[in-house]
């Protein structure tokens, strides 16, 4: 654990910080404009979306440069711009945005990866008739996500968070005529909602305790020492402080969004959406929002650290992350859909990030987030390219041999795959995963997470080799001929592949630029960084594990091109565990017989209550009134009427004259009423003048 960093106070925010709101606002406005376009205006829609995001990227780069320059001059930049949204009596609801190293890094990553995926979508969605709607949603997503990133108010973050969830729902269900896509969209929305309820509770609690929604506000924000000290003195249940309990509630929200066990079930189903969506939302950015949220509220998670430098909230984060990492990697081994394998891999890698945050701090988790965003977006887009080339085939057993048919896709995919496996030295994934493993090695409470994560790394290398062997090696087993994708798809792949390699350079132990940047400390290049005790041994061990996984995968699957109908090589060896893993360890089925069955039962109870109990009450009231009416009619006909009839005859003769104005039309009555009002008012006004 690093010691707390003291930031030098700023004299008001700089120009770029004041313009920061434009970064999310421009894509959102563009999305609104695209929504007004007619369906055939495809080029205009794509131009608007890409132009707006390019503008955001430009601003993000300027903001990033501003923070880097400040850091190079020894200043820690944290500039906030806040304003009051609503005022209730003496209570303010504040919104605001912040420019600090964390948000600057994330802004550049989101807008850059987003821009590449937008460009890729031109080619991928070229034949879709709802092209404009797609770009409208994508733009809205990009804006909302950038809003989450710059938020300095937990409320603004939550607004962006929910908008992101909404666009995720819209995009998963983009092909809504397909029942599975519609169901997957609903599942994603409802599952993340479970986490969001806890998140909202955490927000309300935090607001109630600290009285402010802002994270940083010159000492008065909820993540600053005064508020944190206050939270530590409040005791919640089970020996937790208020800070710990709020941290756990916020983590529940993050777990929903980031697909952590047990709320991971929606993410693999979300692959029903178009592939660029899977790449952008369900691999690179939105699912990382949960990790980013934990990084953003890290001072809260870390508040009150005891000896060993950790807190209950962080321990929970660590264990959930490590468990998810292994759990999802196991399932990924036995999947046959190319995108589902990647989806479980994403869940697993998000587990790594959470574990990294829990054990190593913001920089460790965030570095893996950034490198993962690049290589996982690359993998998804490569998978999309392969699907496109194989005529919309997603089953890996019906692909094969794409190495020669799609060379550009193969090259870039191989780079992404090696980065994901953490192949030594030249790939970014190696350095970011090593950071997490190193933190796990120094975790004082238990060695459990370390062994789990190492095992996860082995599994990762194994299932990725399996997938690549199926898809790219052997002979082609699909229908028709595979063909390479257009330039608009392969060029972004190349750019992402470059970053999947190059990003490793900013996070090596010799030159921990990224860590220094996030923690606002000076860094220098010195090879002595490798001499930390145990580091070289760890790197060696991790290399051996990765090579073992690769070798095992190649031994079982390499270059064999089995027929699609054959049992999987692993299935032949271990039929029973394979069946469990293939059925995704029955988590969905478990929810089906517990949560969903309970809701169905509850719905039936409510229906019964409605029909029998409340319906009975209403019928009873109606019956009582009916009885009263009967009684009154009896009195009327036998008692009142006799004497009444005589008088009525007289009256009806006179009434016949007046009935002329009773036309039976409501509006005539209303008109007469209004005319009478005018007459009355005229008389009053006239008399008051006299």
């Amino acid at each position: 654990m690093q010691e707390a960093i003291s930031f030098t106070p700023q004299l008001g925010p700089s120009a770029i910080a004041q313009l920061l709101w434009l970064i999310p606002a421009v894509p959102i406005v563009a999305s609104g404009a695209i929504a007004l376009l007619k369906q055939p205006k495809r080029r205009a829609a794509a131009t608007l979306a890409i132009g707006s995001l390019a503008f955001s990227l430009l601003l993000a780069l300027i903001a990033f440069a501003h923070v880097v320059t400040g850091w190079a001059h020894g200043e820690a930049i944290r500039e906030t711009v806040d304003f009051t949204w609503i005022q209730f009596g003496s209570t303010n609801v504040d919104l605001g945005y912040v420019l600090d190293p964390l948000s600057a890094v994330m802004l550049v990553m989101v807008s850059f990866v987003g821009l590449l995926i937008f460009i890729y979508s031109i080619g991928y969605m070229a034949h879709d008739e709802n092209y404009t709607r797609f770009f409208c949603f994508l733009s809205l997503f990009a804006g909302a996500m950038l809003g989450v990133v710059i938020a300095n108010s937990i409320l603004l973050l939550f607004i962006g968070w929910e908008l992101v969830g909404l666009t995720s729902y819209l995009l998963i269900g983009f092909w809504y005529l397909k029942p599975s896509a519609a169901a997957a969209a609903k599942k994603a929305f409802l599952t993340t909602r479970v986490g969001d309820v806890f998140f909202l509770l955490g927000i309300v609690w935090l607001f109630g305790q600290t009285g402010t929604l802002l994270f940083y506000n010159g000492g008065a924000g909820s993540l600053e020492s005064v508020a944190l000290t206050g939270l530590l003195h409040q005791h919640a249940a089970l020996g937790l402080t208020a800070a710990g309990a709020i941290g756990l509630l916020i983590f529940a929200g993050a777990a929903g969004k980031s697909g952590q066990f047990p709320l991971h079930v929606w993410l693999p189903d979300a692959m029903e959406g178009p592939t660029p969506v899977s790449a952008l939302i369900h691999a690179a950015t939105m699912v990382a929002a949960g990790v980013y949220l934990i990084a953003r509220v890290y001072p809260l998670m870390q508040a009150g650290a005891l000896t060993g430098g950790t807190t209950t909230a962080l321990i929970v984060v660590t264990w959930v992350g490590a468990f998810t990492a292994v759990f999802a990697a196991l399932i990924a081994v036995a999947q046959n859909d190319i995108k589902r394998i990647l989806a479980y891999s994403t869940v697993s890698q998000l587990g790594y990030m959470m574990a990294g945050l829990g054990m190593g701090g913001v920089a460790v988790g965030m570095f893996h987030l950034i490198t993962h965003a690049f290589f996982k977006a690359l993998l998804f887009m490569g998978a999309g390219s392969a699907i496109h080339g194989c005529h919309e085939e997603q089953d890996v057993r019906r692909m094969g041999g794409l190495k020669s048919a799609m060379p550009a896709t193969f090259m870039t995919y191989a780079i992404g795959m090696l980065a994901l496996c953490g192949f030594p030295l030249f790939f970014s994934g190696f350095w970011s995963k090593d950071g997490i493993l190193e933190a796990a090695q120094h975790f004082s409470l238990s060695k459990g997470p370390f062994y789990m994560l190492v095992f996860g790394a082995l599994l990762t290398a194994f299932y990725m080799t399996r997938q690549v062997s199926y898809v790219f090696f052997g002979s082609y087993r699909g229908h028709g001929h595979a063909h390479e994708s257009p330039k608009s798809m392969t060029v972004p792949l190349g750019i992402l592949a470059f970053f999947a390699i190059a990003l490793g350079a900013i996070g090596t132990p010799a030159w921990p630029w990224f860590r220094g940047f996030l923690e606002s400390r000076a860094v220098s290049f010195e090879l002595g960084g490798f001499n930390e005790p145990g580091l070289l041994a760890l790197m060696g061990a991790s290399t051996v594990v990765v090579l073992l996984g690769l070798g095992l995968g190649w031994w079982l699957y390499g270059d064999k091109s089995p027929a699609p109908e054959d049992a999987d090589a692993l299935e032949q060896a271990l039929p029973l565990p394979w069946a469990w893993l293939h059925e995704r360890l029955y988590v969905d089925e478990f929810y089906g017989v517990t949560v969903i069955a309970f809701y169905e039962w509850w719905a039936r109870v409510a229906d019964w209550l409605d029909r029998r109990v409340w319906g009975g009450v209403v019928a009873g009231v109606a019956w009582a009134f009916g009885l009263w009416a009967q009684l009154s009619r009896f009195l009327d006909t036998n008692v009142v009427d006799g004497s009444f009839d005589k008088g009525c005859e007289e009256l009806s003769t006179g009434g016949g004259l007046l009935s002329r104005i009773q036309s039976g039309r409501v509006q005539t009555y209303l008109r007469l009423l209004a005319l009478a009002v005018i007459a009355l008012a005229a008389i009053l006004i006239w008399s008051s003048r006299a």
């Binding site: 009935s659 009773q662 036309s663 039976g664 039309r665 409501v666 509006q667 209303l670 209004a674």
Partner: protein
């Protein structure tokens, strides 16, 4: 023009628009919409008088407006229920075609 005058004039205009709608449209639902507008115009008057009146701490105008909103909600529910029932019987919501209330 003082602020209060401005608000009162806007309220009068809205009231007249609502009345015109209620008097000139044939569809019963549109008549209800007109009536809702008139109620809202009255609420605006109440709030404006509360704000610029002599004794805002007593909350009289504000309370009136809140109660009026509640009563209007009840009115809308019953009114629309009636419209639906009339439609079920007469298969129309056209007020010109409805004159069975004739004496």
């Amino acid at each position: 023009m003082t602020p209060l005058t401005g608000y009162l004039l806007v309220a009068a205009l809205l009231f007249a628009i609502g009345l015109a709608g209620a008097l000139t449209r044939r569809n019963a639902i549109l008549v209800l919409i007109g009536i809702e507008l008139m109620l809202n115009a009255a609420n605006l008057n109440l709030i404006a008088f509360w704000r610029y009146g002599p004794n805002p701490e007593a909350l009289t105008g504000m309370m009136f407006a809140i109660f009026s909103i509640a009563v209007a909600a009840a009115e809308a529910a019953v009114g629309l229920g009636l419209v639906i029932q009339i439609h079920r019987h007469a298969h129309t919501t056209d007020l010109d075609a409805m004159n069975r209330m004739k004496g």
